[in-house]
């Protein structure tokens, strides 16, 4: 296939709304999640986590629980298998993976022991009873811009840029916005807790695990335990949400492998709800300052975006808050800098729309503030600054349909009638406001392999190590394979969710479908070639390099209407509308469901989500769904999503990612609507009622 393909025209399965292929199994309880897999001779591990934020383990009194009913034993730093310090992930070696290797406690909630028992209840009872003595050391979990430990963030991506003369352009601007925005620690909060079951079959390590990419995690696990990759197999049939927290080799898997190795039988480790909060990846807090200068007609002269985020000394990470700033609007001068502040916290990792979600909150709030000061329609301000090429990169856009999203959304939402002055609309005692945000999320593909076998009965077995997090990947890939092979979906037998199926990218970075679809279409092209082989395998690694450099992004415009009760300061979202340009839509039913889910995530980010730490102990105060709020049904009364025609020429089927774009703009749209309702800016998320309350 050419790197820049033409728009596919054949009518087929792609573009047709179809329910999930596994839908019936899920609603009837037949679908097996990781903790459901029946395994004979299973033992259960219960994790013990640190109740201090920094220090050392002085003693773990194993003898005190060894004789409790059903207890098989305890693994801690004194008897755990040694792990390879080179093991890591995208950002390099990760000390967060090196569990039970020494007595050091780098953060609260760090796993420090695993109690293994015959039943989950017995293991859990002993874990609760296990006496641990700590040497408590002073800790620092207090994040803020300008923290003395701050240092330039890794420049693996979202590195600093400085185009044009920002200072001169700001000085020449008629209006300058200079404001600071903050977002708190946030947790992925997937419904399904992380669970892994591990056992040895001869020389081969087998595991069933809740994760976003079995192949990549098998590679990490093999490195961690110093095994050749072919001796590790990981399966993951159904996943109850990941949101980034299952993108890595999780503590449940590492500890289950340790226990299976030590006790010579299958061991299942399922995190408790609080352990999911304490020990699996979170979004770091961010603290951002944005300066935007514009002429009186609204044309931008400069954007200066500096952002700080927290991380752990154990692992590198980038919360790329400034990425959008480099591509969303035309401005002759753009400068960005990212600062990382190492603190005594769990290593943060990618959580839904990493970087873009907090970054767009800051950028799109600042744009709204600029419109306010210019006394201009915020929609018009955005239209006026539409770039022709990447404002920093100078590269052409592969396809850019933000304007269509904005215009179509504005029509549908009734934006034209809006009085742009704040605090002008009341319904009964309630203040009513509307707001919008524009946004983008980068799109692309990572190397993957896929195989196709033509079966004697005329069907095709399509094999790719993809994962379906509940988004409908199975259903989408089935349609893609059917069209690529020019057969009906009933002829496709899809196998996914197994590291043995070959190298593949994970369900993450909004690149799952694009990466897997590319491998499938390549394999299908070979299958349909003149030699008509019975089995083909394709690897896209070499093709990715041939893709021309372009600005490749999905786009959206999000419109929100909120009410604020001036007496109680309760903020409720009454309407949310998102217009999306996500390339070709594979399955409108599931794509809509996914972007609406993303918008609900953005709503939760705007109003609810906040990981709270005790200011004295540094420990999490709300590691459960009672304390860590996400939107309930009553919080999302009217939410709609539509897609504008769009096509990504560089990727097969013209797809872009739909995984994260739904999330990105929503928080700013809501914050802007709250300003429009009340006249007061909300620059710190979440928009809690105490922050809105008027005396």
């Amino acid at each position: 296939m050419n790197a820049e393909s033409s728009v596919p025209t054949a009518a087929g399965a792609v573009g047709v709304a179809r329910p999930r292929v596994e839908g019936r199994a899920k609603v009837t309880g037949g679908a097996r999640y990781s903790a459901d897999e029946p395994v004979p001779g299973l033992a259960f591990g219960a994790v013990v986590v640190s109740t201090i934020t920094r220090g050392r383990v002085l003693d773990i009194d194993v003898a005190a629980v060894q004789d409790m009913p059903g207890v098989l034993g305890v693994i801690d730093h004194r008897n755990a298998p040694r792990l390879n310090p080179e093991a890591g992930h995208f950002f390099g070696p990760d000390g967060g993976l090196r569990l039970l290797q020494d007595d050091v406690i780098p953060h609260a909630g760090r796993p420090i022991a695993l109690v293994v028992g015959e039943t989950p209840e017995q293991a859990y009872a002993a874990a609760q009873a296990l006496p641990v003595v700590y040497d408590v050391r002073p800790h620092d979990t207090e994040f803020f811009f300008g923290h003395p430990a701050g240092r330039p963030a890794s420049a693996l991506f979202d590195g600093p840029v400085d185009v044009g003369d920002v200072d001169a352009e700001l000085a020449a601007s008629a209006v300058v916005v200079d404001e600071r925005y903050g977002t708190p620690e946030e947790h992925c909060s997937a419904m399904e807790p992380h669970s892994a079951t591990a056992w040895w079959e001869g020389e081969r390590l087998q595991a069933v695990d809740s994760n976003q990419g079995p192949y990549q995690i098998a590679v990490t696990l093999a490195t961690l335990f110093c095994l050749p990759p072919e001796r590790v197999r990981i399966r993951v049939e159904h996943v109850g949400g990941g949101f980034g927290s299952k993108g890595m080799c999780g503590p449940q898997l590492i500890l289950a492998v340790m226990a299976a190795t030590r006790f010579g039988r299958p061991v299942r480790v399922t995190l408790t709800r609080d352990q999911v909060f304490l020990a699996t990846a979170q979004r770091p807090a961010t603290d951002q300052v944005i300066r935007i200068g514009a002429d009186a007609d609204g044309r931008l002269r400069a954007i200066d975006h500096v952002a700080a985020f927290e991380l752990s000394p154990l692992a590198e990470y980038i919360e790329g808050c400034t990425e959008l700033t480099k591509t969303l609007y035309a401005a002759p001068a753009i400068r960005t800098r990212l600062t990382a502040v190492p603190l005594d916290i769990l290593p943060p990792y990618s959580m839904r729309a990493p970087g873009a979600a907090p970054g767009s909150f800051a950028l799109e709030s600042a744009m709204d503030e600029l419109a306010e000061r210019l006394e201009m329609d915020p929609l018009e301000l955005r239209l006026r600054n539409e770039p022709v090429v990447g404002p920093v990169s100078g590269l052409p856009f592969s396809s850019r349909n933000l304007v269509a999203c904005l215009r179509q959304g504005a029509r549908r939402f009734g934006w034209a009638d809006r009085d742009h002055r704040p605090r002008m609309r009341r319904e009964g005692s309630l203040l009513v406001g509307t707001g919008l945000a524009a946004t983008s999320f980068s799109t692309g593909a990572f190397p993957s392999t896929a195989s196709i076998t033509a079966e004697p009965d005329g069907t095709f077995t399509v094999v790719v190590a993809a994962t379906d997090l509940g988004t409908g990947a199975r259903t989408a890939l089935t349609a893609i394979a059917a069209d690529a092979l020019e057969v009906g979906v009933e002829k496709i037998g899809l196998r996914i969710s197994d590291s043995d199926l070959g190298p593949a990218w994970s369900a993450g970075g909004s690149r799952g479908t694009a990466s897997w679809a590319w491998a499938i279409t390549e394999a299908a092209a070979k299958m349909r070639g003149p030699e008509r082989p019975a089995t083909v395998t394709a690897d896209t690694a070499h093709l990715l390099g041939e893709l021309p450099s372009r600005e490749r992004h999905a786009y959206s415009a999000v419109f929100a209407e909120v009410t604020v009760d001036p007496a109680t300061s309760e903020v409720r979202v009454r309407r949310l509308l998102g217009l999306f340009a996500v390339g070709r839509v594979i399955n409108p039913l599931m794509a809509r469901s996914q972007v609406i889910g993303g918008m609900v995530g953005g709503l939760s980010m705007a109003l609810h989500e906040e990981g709270v730490r005790d200011p004295v102990s540094g420990r999490h105060v709300n590691p459960d769904f009672a304390g860590y709020h996400i939107a309930a049904h009553a919080d999302v009364p009217d939410i709609e999503a539509e897609f504008v025609p769009d096509h990504e020429p560089g990727l097969p089927m013209g797809v872009k990612g739909a995984g994260e774009i739904g999330n990105v703009g929503t928080a700013a749209a809501i914050a802007n609507a709250v300003w429009h309702a009340t006249g007061v800016r909300q620059r710190q998320l979440p928009i809690r009622l105490d922050r809105v309350l008027e005396d």
Binding site: E121, T568, E570, L607, V616, S617, A632, D690, L693
Partner: protein
């Protein structure tokens, strides 16, 4: 989870005998709070005496016009009862403002009265908490206390009572009825929850081993226009930041009587007696409501993280009383 004995009581006297003389016994109603606490290791009873199937459910008329609500009546049945909705609508509204449909179907009236605070330090056995482990200290006072008490707390505990139902019961002068092996007794709801003092672990005035049998609502409190309003961070499935149960009796523009109780501000439902007495026989105006609210809240001692609750409680009192005053009589 520690092993425990489970026994289903066949009658009140058997339940009382099974619980007698043993601090480690708990009565089990719907279990919607107790079982969670047992899983978390906060409660570890040696025996559960299941009283859910005792003949203590149902709501019946009391001579004179009041209602008696059986202890094991579910929250759902309480909220849906036509006479509760007609005579004490704020009670029905309060119950419906709490938890979820599934929980309300399980939870009992007595269990609701005895539910424990949702202070996160209380719920985590690895944290100091005087209510759970007397003498270990209060983590919330110097810690995260955004949703904690502003009235009548002590240096030993700053937790709030989480019940919505109890706030309405406080406004309606409810009386809690109980049985012990030594006989029956009554406690007015306003005296049911003990002051925090230096014993936050002692939450109610119930004698040891007592079993709540009913809650009685007096005829004098019938308030067909009463209202419950719950302020919370999300639209459902959240405990109150501040809540209010209120009723006003206005004739010719003058307040003849009022009932005001607040939730989310103290270790117990807070009957706003100061505000009520200030409003009595005065004009029903927003200014007066505000003056009364401020007088009530003058005793508030907020912590740095929850001072907003004082403003919020004041605003809420004024808003709800203003609404009530504007309602057609």
């Amino acid at each position: 989870m520690k092993e425990f004995a489970y026994q289903r009581a066949s009658g009140i006297s058997e339940a009382l005998r099974l619980a007698a003389g043993n601090d480690d016994v708990r009565y089990l109603g719907g279990g919607t709070n107790l079982v969670d606490l047992m899983k978390a290791g906060v409660e570890s009873p040696t025996r559960l005496v299941d009283v859910r199937f005792l003949p203590l459910d149902g709501i019946r008329q009391v001579p004179g016009g009041g209602l008696e609500i059986g202890a094991t009546t579910t929250n759902s049945d309480l909220a849906a009862h036509p006479e509760v909705r007609r005579r004490y609508p704020a009670l029905s509204q309060a119950v419906l403002a709490g938890a979820s449909g599934q929980l309300r179907n399980m939870a009992t009236v007595a269990g609701n009265l005895l539910q424990r605070t949702r202070c996160s330090y209380f719920a985590d056995p690895s944290q100091p908490c005087n209510k759970r482990a007397p003498g270990s200290g209060c983590s919330a006072i110097a810690g995260a206390h955004h949703n904690h008490a502003v009235l009548s707390w002590s240096p030993h505990c700053v937790a709030t009572n989480p019940s919505d139902m109890a706030v309405a019961l406080a406004a309606f002068d409810a009386v809690v009825r109980y049985e012990t092996l030594d006989g029956a007794g009554d406690i007015p709801l306003e005296e049911f929850y003990l002051p925090v003092g230096d014993t936050p672990e002692r939450e109610t005035a119930l004698p040891p081993g007592a079993l709540i049998t009913a809650v009685r609502l007096p005829e004098s409190a019938i308030s067909p226009l009463s209202r419950y309003r719950k302020v919370r961070e999300r639209a459902s499935y959240a405990f109150a930041t501040v809540s209010i149960a209120a009723d006003l009796d206005i004739r010719d523009g003058v307040v003849r009587s009022s009932r005001i109780a607040l939730g989310g501000v103290a270790s117990r439902p807070w009957r706003a007696r100061t505000a009520e007495s200030l409003l009595l026989d005065g004009p029903a105006t927003a200014d007066r409501f505000r003056t009364a609210a401020e007088a009530e809240l003058a005793a508030a001692e907020p912590l740095p993280g929850n001072a907003y609750k004082v403003t919020l409680a004041r605003n809420l009192i004024v808003a709800v009383l203003t609404d009530l005053a504007a309602s057609p009589y």
